[in-house]
Amino acid sequence: MKEYIVKRFLWMFVTLFGIMLITFCVTRLAPGDPATLKLQKMSGTMSGDQQLSKKLIEETRQLYGFDRPLLLNFRSENVRAYTYKLAHELIDNDEYTRADAQDDLIENGKVSLPYLLELLRDKDQSELHSTICSIFSKICSFTYPADTSIEDKITRCEQYMSDDKLLFDATHQQSLIDTILNDEPNAVQSAKDELATAGTAALPQLLSTAFILKPDQTAELFNTAAAIARKSWYFEEGASDETKEQLLHLWKKWWARNRQKYTFFSPIERVTRIFTATQFGQWVGMVLTFDFGESYSHHIPVIKLIKERLPVSMQLSLISIFLTYIIAIPLGVFSATHQFKTSDKVITVILFILYSLPSFWVANMLILFTTGGEFPHIFPNRYLHSPGAESFTFFKWVLDWLWHLVLPVTCLTYASFAYISRQMRVGMLDIIRQDFIRTARAKGLSERTVIFKHALRNALIPIVTLLAFLLPALLGGSVIIEEIFTIPGMGKLSFEAILNRDYPIINAIAFFSAFLTLLGMLLTDIAYVFVDPRISFDHDR
């Protein structure tokens, strides 16, 4: 038994991973993405007088993490690729994208220069040349004399690069950094100045050195970097350890995010990034740390949202499932024991009529006839409590709550009667024809004992199978009933999430449902053992 359960648990992880992969792909392959939906506003009409800049759609996509590849990342992400990408955006159709690309290139600074020069040398890219020349001059703060031709400008850029070759040399930069670290009295200032001239080209070397060393040694390095990167994260004399720690954290976070703009990844990093720097990789990472991210539309952690909504749906589903079973099982037993009698037929007909009534219709009819207006006002028609219920006495609060539950629970319950009582009836009919029941009757046991003690337990097996789906049902809630009775439960949450393509919510709910279904199946298997002693999972028996 134990061995079986352990095995099942292990299989569960594999299955879960598969399910995650599938739900992930399905959600992402569905048309529409939250970034554009958010900008269009989700409705049947679109706003007709707002010209949306492409740049903003890109920004929102980045904010939600959609700029990464879905499953495998084979992109070359490094300073060269970044420079090339921006350079090509310089001739984009969207004026804001153009302006942004220019600003970004200037901000990226000297580290981009070698690649800009590559572009300048490339005759095929001549449409970019004039803009790149002007960016080049802005980065290096020199000016061209008036009426310089493009060729001369390019020569000027070449000239600049060959003059300042040392700036881009990592070994030279390292020697400057060592000078600062060794605190050589006369050379420190000039080393700092030289690094500052190197600008962003010196950042990779500066920061990678600084991160290895202890913070108290590296204040100078960080401060040089801060001046280059135009950040206000200076390590000041006599700052508390806590502040230093915080600053270091800021630096590390910033560098992790922006590394690809300034440097290249090592081969090992690139291989791991194939799997990790993807949307799926990010999602798996989040699940492993039990952080399911934030909803795009609510801007609340998904876990918190589920925690808010789950109890609401649970009260409804627990009560209605309990009621369903408590009513349907005796009905099924009764039908089985009174097979072919009028009472059986009447029950069957009624149950099937109920089964065929769609719940949204019944719910609307109940609202129409029992919640006031020109009809009696018997039940409330929305939410689970009256306004101001918090100040009620406990007894009154419970009454008020039950009063609100009547309509939704009715709608959730009646349709399942037919299904479950039919299952029960069939199971029961199967059992009562068996020999051991005849034996029990022959022993002279009362009919009640025969049915409820001997037959019922065996007849419950099909019902136990149904229990496997109980757990996910608790989580799922009912979209229709929650919508009609304005109950803020899981059903509404997932429905709206699907409409808004709110992936974190959809993925989290899919994950939990999958997990609970698997768990439910395991529990069902275990329950079989208890219901029917003949079933066992141990091979040796």
Binding site: Q51, E294, H299, E308, L368, T371, T486
Partner: protein
């Protein structure tokens, strides 16, 4: 005064006109439909109409169709959220809903300037006085100021003298309006003349000279305004708001879109802020004047040391999303998830102390406003009848026409009101497709659509046919254009002229071997789309055209449009009053998945659209828009269908219910409860 949608940025999203320069209202008014007052409430006696007696107090319970996801004024652009947020936050300027005039609000006054950039890179700001063939005269470092009359001690338009209550005085030329006085300085020694040759090219549009009119705005913040927690509202709050909106990690891209053209924002002194625009655009003023001001002290951004991303994330998920702190007439009381949102009027509303002639004493009158969340329409109607809800602005046609809402009992208690909102439906013809590239074919299609019949049978008369892309109440709408009539004969003639003839006698017209069989896309969301499609299908068959209907899910539909993979499509645009036609009709938007997806390219129209964007005088702008209307009418890139009516019920005890032609059509600041017995 339309105060409830105070967030003027929202107004702009809806496309409502801004203009800084006060105009003479008599000429404007002839184009603007005045609001109706208590039009649908027969309980208001003629006497009461003459002598209304607004009383303060009472509560209004509204039905809300869906719960907002958050109450963050920047990140949540849903209509439900914006309506509530608009009541909590005031802005620098306010728009008078009857004259469409912008007036001082949190800003005591403002100054408008132009700028010119010279070849040497220096920039001169001031007022451009005149432009000759070879030079431009500019009044350096001066601007046109607009003061509200409440802040003026005395003024004389003839002498050109103006004295403010705070003691400062001005001499210049004055233009008086109903509520404001506009001041233009005349100090000749400051006028300088610049040769056109010395002016550099505009960076955003190198074909133009860098002479940018109405592009610098200074706003001076009024004293004595505080947040609902007692902290004063300062220019730091404005600066913080600007930084937050433009932070790309803040999930407010739709809003940020409006701030794209701002080149710089500066805090000038303890009361003054300055917005500089890169280019001249008629909506600029209302964007910066309508900026939502956020309480900096609530967010304490300094703790992030300039780390934009962490701050963006902190802001997006901040607690204030669920408990906003505002500065308007109403303060946030509570939000019970899934049930209700409650706002309460503040005890001493700052605007009441300022003596605005456009804010009557005691307004807004309602003490408390509650939004009850009821998703189901039937339940909402019951709650209205049970007295648990006072007004429901989302009435579906089925309920409007149902027996229960047409009984005497019901109509005695509730007003059945409707207002045409700026939204129109249309059928877009893909002008790049083989069928619809000829304008005669498109005109023929319009002749083939029985709009009267559709309006009567499908929409049950709750719509108004339109002939162009504006609301019927829009001042730019050209009422002289007659709708195309339903005429198969005319359609056939036009098709024949265009070369679509049934050559092979199979009953289907063809041209160059292509049969006229096109696909008509509809959104599967509503049943009536299918019904309309069926009517049209039958109608075009009479002219020998086969139409295939395809129903698509909303997201698939928008993707298909963006990819231009369609022949014809039925859609709707929510526009505003006096919006900007650029997005829909400029040829630059026809490519790159822009919104001009039918591929309308017309040089004359482009020219008009570009001029409209730089025309600050509304009368001139509307004249241009009417010309555009004429072009679209004759080109028929769309068959324009209908303006829709918004239907709503409200309890007849509410008075001064004004209906405006801008969305949402009502203003809760007007409303009060009729109580004749009290003093």
């Amino acid at each position: 005064m339309n105060r409830n949608i105070v967030s003027i940025v929202l107004l702009i999203m809806l496309g409502i006109v801004p203009y800084s320069v006060a105009q003479s209202n008599t000429s404007l008014k002839q184009f603007i439909k005045p609001p109706t007052i208590d039009e649908f409430n027969d309980r208001v006696s003629p006497e009461e109409r003459l002598h209304p007696d607004p009383k303060s107090g009472g509560e209004l319970i509204l039905r809300m169709i869906g719960e907002p996801n958050s109450l963050n004024p920047l990140t949540d652009n849903s209509a439900t959220s914006q309506e509530i947020v608009g009541m909590l936050f005031d802005s620098l300027i306010i728009r008078h809903s009857e004259t469409l005039e912008y007036l001082p609000w949190m800003a005591k006054y403002w100054e408008t300037r132009d700028w010119i950039q010279k070849n040497d890179g220096t920039r001169i700001e001031g007022v451009i006085l005149q432009r000759d063939n070879d030079s431009v005269s500019i009044l350096k470092n001066e601007g046109i100021l607009l003061f509200g009359k409440q802040d003026i001690e005395a003024y004389d338009t003839k002498k050109g003298t103006l004295k403010l209550k705070d003691g400062r005085s001005f001499t210049g030329s004055l233009k008086e309006d109903v509520y404001s006085v506009e001041y233009t300085p005349i100090l000749s020694d400051k006028v300088i003349k610049i040769a056109l040759a010395d002016i550099s090219q505009l960076e955003s549009d190198p074909s133009k000279k860098a002479i940018v009119k109405n592009s610098i705005y200074y706003f001076t913040l009024r004293d004595g305004i505080s947040w609902h927690d007692g902290e004063p509202v300062t220019v730091d709050d404005i600066a913080f708001s600007y930084e937050t909106i433009t932070n790309k990690y803040v999930d407010a891209a739709p809003l940020r879109n409006f701030f794209n053209d701002i080149e710089s924002f500066e805090v000038i002194d303890a009361h003054t802020v300055k917005f500089t625009y890169k280019k001249s655009y008629f909506k600029s003023f209302s964007v910066c004047g309508g900026i939502t001001i956020l309480p900096k002290h609530v967010y304490n951004p300094d703790q992030f040391n300039g780390d934009d991303e962490t701050f963006g994330n902190y802001f997006n998920t901040h607690q204030a999303n669920r408990q906003p702190l505002g500065n308007g007439a109403y303060k946030f009381v509570k939000w019970e998830k899934g049930r209700e949102i409650v706002l309460e009027r503040v005890d001493s509303y700052w605007a009441q102390q300022c003596g605005f002639p456009y804010l009557p004493k005691g307004k807004p009158y309602l003490k408390k406003i509650v939004w009850n969340i009821i998703t189901n329409s039937n339940a909402a109607l019951k709650e209205l009848q049970n007295g648990n809800v006072d007004a429901d602005f989302n009435i579906e046609p089925a309920i409007w026409f149902s027996d229960q809402t047409n009984t005497n009992d019901f109509t005695n208690e509730f007003a059945r009101a409707h207002i045409t909102i700026p939204m129109y439906t249309y059928i877009g013809w893909n002008m790049d497709s083989v069928y619809f590239k000829d304008k005669r074919v498109r005109q023929a299609m319009t002749h083939l659509i029985p709009r009267e019949e559709i309006a009567r049978t499908i929409h049950q008369g709750l719509v108004t046919p339109v002939t162009g892309p504006f609301s019927i109440n829009d001042p730019a709408y050209d009422h002289s254009l007659e709708p195309y009539d339903y005429s198969v004969r005319k359609a056939k003639r036009l098709l024949r002229e265009a070369g679509w003839i049934d050559h092979d006698g199979d009953g289907i017209i063809d041209k160059d071997g292509v049969k006229f069989e096109f696909e008509y896309l509809i959104h599967g969301g509503r049943e009536y789309h299918q019904k309309i499609a069926d009517i049209i299908k039958e109608s075009v068959q009479q002219a020998g055209i086969i139409m295939n209907i395809r129903k698509l899910d909303w997201t698939v539909l928008t993707e298909t449009i963006a990819d231009r993979k369609f022949d014809a499509i039925r859609m709707a645009w929510g526009t505003g009053i006096d919006g900007d036609p650029y997005q829909l009709w400029h040829s630059s938007q026809a490519d790159n998945r822009g919104s001009n997806y039918v591929g309308f390219r017309n040089e004359k129209a482009d020219e008009i659209i570009e001029t409209v964007r730089e025309t600050f005088d509304p009368l001139k702008r509307w004249e241009l828009m009417r010309q555009l209307h004429g072009i679209l009418y004759s080109e028929q890139p769309y068959t324009f269908l209908f303006n829709f009516k918004q239907l709503f019920f409200y309890n007849k005890k509410f008075r001064d219910v004004k209906l405006y032609s801008v969305r949402p059509g009502y203003d809760l600041y007007d409303w009060y409860i009729y109580r004749p017995d009290e003093d």
